[in-house]
């Protein structure tokens, strides 16, 4: 029975306009368009990196400030305030790579600079109680930017090295204004708690990526969500009310579960195959997609499956007309991409705003999840955040499978 269903469902899917054009050819073409669009965004080794502007306020003794400065001078350069802007004290960088431009100031001044967006990040260091409290505040608009990663990394490294030399307790907290970036608080706190030895070095960031690669990540995630339409089709081709052919299937002795399962297998295979083919092209080109092949494939597969099941859950829970089904399969991916940061700076700000106000939305938006996953794979030094994203996607997938199972058992007329 499976073979019979599988061969005919595949045949109908590939031969149908909906199936071939809309759900196979179009996303593939879209993927190639994105590829060409982003090919220019390859890592540019010659371009120098603008140091991240960080203002630091210290509560404690001067010794600590010295300690911090010594460390920061390894990776950054000192700055001073000039006309409300932070500029380098010394233009000579002794040939070393400088990641941050730091400035020590009063808490209130530092706060003002952050508010006005003159700095990327504000750092409060408090060592009054014989322990080191480091708090990072990251400017909302820089939160998903590589800059925030650099700041985080620098102070994380400081944290580690400080600990190995001193016997005091160190506490590092990171506060980003963007909800999702709070993700790195927990692993960080854990690390500090464990007073771990797994030092992370800044030179892992040597490979620099143009921040605009972010758009490339969102577009790849958008293509994943595009396959939501396939999920909607899987259900609708089997629901008795939606067409005469599906009514025929409905009165046959082959249960809905079996039919939906077979449709899922035969329609999701081409979708996944297409994504892998796209990835292959992406890897062949020089786009800044992580070369961690296994992880990227895992992430993209999960993203695609979540999208397909999102379509299946929606279509099986709600009765809808053809028009509405078409509308939904167009609208949701676009909304997902828009709120996931695809459409330029405004859309990026929207994503940040959502992360701040309704972080839950980013967790149910496959575009945001897959984008973050790609981002984390390419830019984060550890797999912690990536695994967290993967586990979100996995839990999400399980929930959607359950919802679909509930949905297909309901009679909709």
């Amino acid at each position: 029975m499976f073979k019979h269903l599988f061969s005919y469902i595949s045949k109908i899917h590939v031969k149908s306009k909906d199936g071939f054009l809309f759900s196979l050819l179009l996303p593939f073409a879209l993927g190639l368009v994105f590829l060409f669009a982003f090919e220019g965004l390859v890592i540019d080794e010659s371009k120098s990196f603008d140091p991240v502007k960080v203002a630091i306020s210290i509560q404690g003794n001067a010794l600590e400030q010295k300690e911090v400065m010594n460390f920061l001078n390894e990776v950054g350069i000192e700055g001073k305030l000039e006309n409300d802007e932070i500029v380098q004290v010394n233009t000579d960088t002794d040939g070393k790579e400088k990641y941050i431009l730091y400035y020590f100031g009063e808490e209130s001044t530092v706060q003002k600079l952050l508010k006005e967006g003159k700095i990327d990040s504000k750092v409060d260091i408090d060592n009054r109680d014989n322990q080191m409290d480091i708090s990072l505040y990251i400017h909302p608009l820089k939160a998903s930017d590589i800059n925030s990663q650099v700041v985080y990394q620098v102070f994380n490294s400081f944290n580690s090295s400080y600990h190995t030399t001193k016997d005091a307790t160190v506490r590092l907290t990171v506060q980003a204004f963007q909800g999702r970036d709070l993700n790195f608080v927990e692993p960080l706190v854990n690390r500090v708690r464990a007073l771990g030895s797994e030092d992370v070095y800044i030179n892992e960031y040597k490979e620099r990526i143009n921040p605009e690669v972010h758009y490339f990540f969102v577009s790849l995630a958008y293509i994943c969500l595009y396959f939501m339409s396939v999920g909607i089709q899987i259900i609708r081709k089997n629901e008795g009310y939606s067409s005469a052919t599906s009514k025929r299937l409905m009165i046959s002795p082959v249960g809905m579960g079996k039919r939906v399962f077979t449709s899922f297998i035969s329609l999701s295979i081409p979708a996944l195959a297409l994504m892998y083919l796209l990835l292959f092209f992406y890897w062949k080109s020089d786009i800044g997609l992580s070369r961690d092949y296994g992880s990227v494939i895992l992430l993209i597969s999960l993203g695609t499956l979540v999208s397909i099941f999102l379509g299946m859950a929606v279509a099986s829970l709600f009765k809808m007309t053809d028009d509405r089904a078409d509308g939904i399969s167009m609208a949701i991916p676009i909304v997902g991409a828009l709120t996931g940061g695809l459409m330029g700076v405004a859309s990026l700000q929207l994503k940040i705003w959502i992360g701040e106000k309704i972080p839950f939305f980013n967790i149910i938006n496959p575009v945001a999840l897959v984008t973050d996953g790609l981002y984390q794979l390419s830019l984060y030094p550890t797999y912690n955040q990536f695994y967290q994203t993967i586990s979100y996607l996995t839990v999400y997938l399980i929930i959607l499978v359950v919802l679909t199972a509930v949905g297909i058992r309901r009679v909709k007329e």
């Binding site: 269903l5 025929r248 299937l249 009165i251 046959s252 002795p253 009679v411 007329e413």
Partner: protein
Amino acid sequence: MIVEMKDIVKRYKEVVALDYLNLEVKEGEIYGLLGPNGCGKTTAINCMLSLISFDNGGVKLFGEKMSRTNNRLKEKIGLVMQDIGVYDELTVRENIDYFCGLYIKDKKTRKAYVEEAIEFVGMKKFEKYKPKKLSGGLRRRLNLACGIAHKPELIILDEPTVAVDPQSRYHILENIKELARNGKTVVYTTHYMEEVEEICDRLTIMDKGKTLVMGTVDEITEMSLKGEIVEAKIYDISDALIKEIGNTEGVDSCEYDAVNSILKVGFNKGASRLIELLRILNENNISFVDLTVKKPSLNDVFLEITGKELRDNV
């Protein structure tokens, strides 16, 4: 009893599509479900097959409770829907094979069944065609083949002859009669009473979701309050005589159509006075040709009960 529907009520918000509908179909008969557009025929079938839920009542098929998940029952049923349910992406043969394969697992048997179904609807020539290329009548025949290829014991046909040319319609009706001859039970819905009169053993006339009457064609036409209608071609007749005939005992109405020269005499029920009429005509030296005696049709019965015509009152 192959089909037993008891007190089925189906509501769509304010619309009551089925209003305590009862239906009993015996093994081996062709059962007609006759009624105007929108009277609930398709809804009745959908309820019968658990394709939709209903608000009251129960359905038994082959003496067993029918449900969405009763696959054992579904195996014995074939549905030929009102809307054509075939895939445009598949050829005629592939369509039949796909649907047949949902019932028949054995490959060899399936191949033979598909072959038989193609022969049965006379589409051997078209087996490699895609449905889009077929004429409307041929598509209906394909629709029929898809519904019956697996040799179901109970076949349900929902207006299979709508918008079909006389030749294809004849073909389809012959097919249905043949199915019944082979011992299949057939439920046939239509709003063409001629078809019902031609092929159905028993029938239900429905209107607005309710059963109006049920029985054999003869039983139902018997129910008419009117009697037989006699028509004859008469070239010359006086108004006085027409009046006289009209006043004769047992005569319900008497009209003369001067344009076509046809005299039409309707008798009261059970009061056929054909001999009396012939006597009057003879006495007055009136010659006539083409004398016919008609019984009231299903349409007349429907008209009497509901005050509206059954045919094509879309």
